[in-house]
């Protein structure tokens, strides 16, 4: 699945989720635990989607890390040489500098992914008021889930639609992993809403 198609799907999912979140957030009062829990899930879902969309392709990432590595090693080795250290000193200094830079990689990568994802997905979708009443929100969210899962499946590739392959993809593929996390949050939100609606139905005579 190409990147642009994935971004279009994720934008659509995001809009659907924003509609549902607006409706649930209006209904959620102080004492309604399930609704508040669903709100929390849907709010954190947005961040996960942004990060999934901001994933950098592996070749680009490798080239960037290569450039950073080259610069860091050249500079630190030159600095150690200028300080008059011996061979072991130069190797130790440049090795430490390289390891320190690579250790900061996940932190920097996360920042870059979030910024890139915001840019790719556009601004926060403004929710359409009254798109669904509270009883219709679970179905609304289920539609979002269908789109999300189909995007994840297309991302995993049509040759790998068996359970072991998908299990591996959820564990190892960074995009599919984030989409799986988003799917999990969506399922939890739907479950919380269903429990709230079930409680309401039980209270009715």
């Amino acid at each position: 699945m190409s990147g642009r198609a994935l971004h279009a799907e994720l934008t659509a999912v995001r809009a659907l989720v924003a509609d549902g979140l607006a409706e649930v957030g209006d209904a959620a009062g102080a004492g309604q635990v399930w609704l508040r829990s669903a709100c929390t899930r849907l709010t954190s879902l947005d961040g996960v989607l942004v990060e999934a969309a901001g994933m950098i392709a592996t070749p680009v990432w490798v080239v960037a890390v290569t450039a950073v590595t080259f610069v860091v090693v050249v500079l630190s080795a030159a600095a150690a040489e200028a300080l008059g250290l011996g061979v072991a000193g130069v190797l130790a200094v440049s090795g430490t500098a390289l390891l320190g830079t690579l250790a900061a990689g996940p932190w920097a990568g996360r920042r870059v992914r979030v910024a890139l994802g915001r840019r790719r997905l556009g601004p926060e979708p403004s929710p359409v008021r009254g798109a669904a009443t509270l009883t219709e929100v679970p179905e609304h969210l289920l539609r979002a889930r269908v789109r999300l899962v189909s995007a994840a499946l297309r991302r995993a590739g049509a040759d790998h639609w068996t359970a072991p392959h998908l299990r591996r993809a959820i564990r190892t593929d960074p995009v599919v992993r984030r989409l799986a996390h988003a799917d999990l949050l969506l399922c939890q939100a739907i479950d919380c809403l269903d429990r709230h609606l079930g409680d309401l139905r039980k209270d009715m005579p």
């Binding site: 290569t66 080795a77 889930r145 299990r167 939890q188």
Partner: protein, 205 residues
């Protein structure tokens, strides 16, 4: 790692044995394996069910919150290890060859040239994605040969064993000196609630 976890979960001749306090990290890892498996089965329409794994994931969230240092390790530790080993091996080998062959020496002077050193580092860096690509290809082949088998999420003994382990942890945390550990006991009680909520949704036979 996944297969090993499943095998241990399936070997259930006595789930109520064990005298040591189980570790929350291991409980979280087992829950993680079960949830990933159930989600992949839901995606591949092998065992469509979106409620049970969502509730188990709530339990996992509580268990993670109860951990003393809730740091998430790398998502794919095997790939990280193999990539790091390949990078270190290639860089070390090149360095050794360069030192032995005199390529890194500036005309016999006691110094290391920065640019060849940086090239060695870059070569080591490129060995990592190559090794990971080989690993991915091997994993695809292994996944093609694995049979999905029975879903561990349907196993009632899994819930019994998990409940027993979480209860042991909660009992150990409840009378701890530190108020933070006692707070962890509350989180673990929430986890037990979610666990029984997940079990109540299982299809009855």
């Amino acid at each position: 790692m996944n297969e090993r976890v499943f095998r241990r979960l399936r070997a259930r001749n006595d789930p109520f044995s064990g005298t040591v306090v189980p570790r929350l990290r291991h409980i979280e890892r087992d829950l993680d394996a079960v949830i990933t498996d159930a989600q992949s089965r839901d995606w591949s329409a092998d065992r469509p069910d979106q409620v049970v794994f969502a509730r188990l994931a709530q339990a996992r969230r509580r268990v993670r919150a109860a951990r003393r240092f809730p740091v998430a390790g790398p998502a794919d530790p095997v790939a990280v290890l193999i990539g790091a080993a390949a990078a270190a091996g290639v860089a070390g080998g090149l360095l050794w060859a360069g030192v032995a062959g005199g390529l890194l020496w500036a005309g016999g002077a006691v110094a290391v040239r920065p640019v060849p050193l940086a090239l060695v580092a870059v070569a080591g860096l490129w060995a990592a994605p190559a090794a990971v690509a080989v690993l991915r290809r091997l994993r695809r082949r292994w996944d093609r040969d694995t049979h999905p088998g029975r879903a561990p999420i349907d196993d009632p003994y899994l819930y019994a064993a998990l409940r027993r382990r979480i209860e042991t942890c909660a009992a150990a945390a409840r009378d701890h000196r530190s108020h933070r550990r006692r707070g962890a006991a509350t989180e673990l009680e929430y986890a037990l609630d979610w666990l029984s909520a997940a079990q109540s949704e299982l299809p009855r036979r």
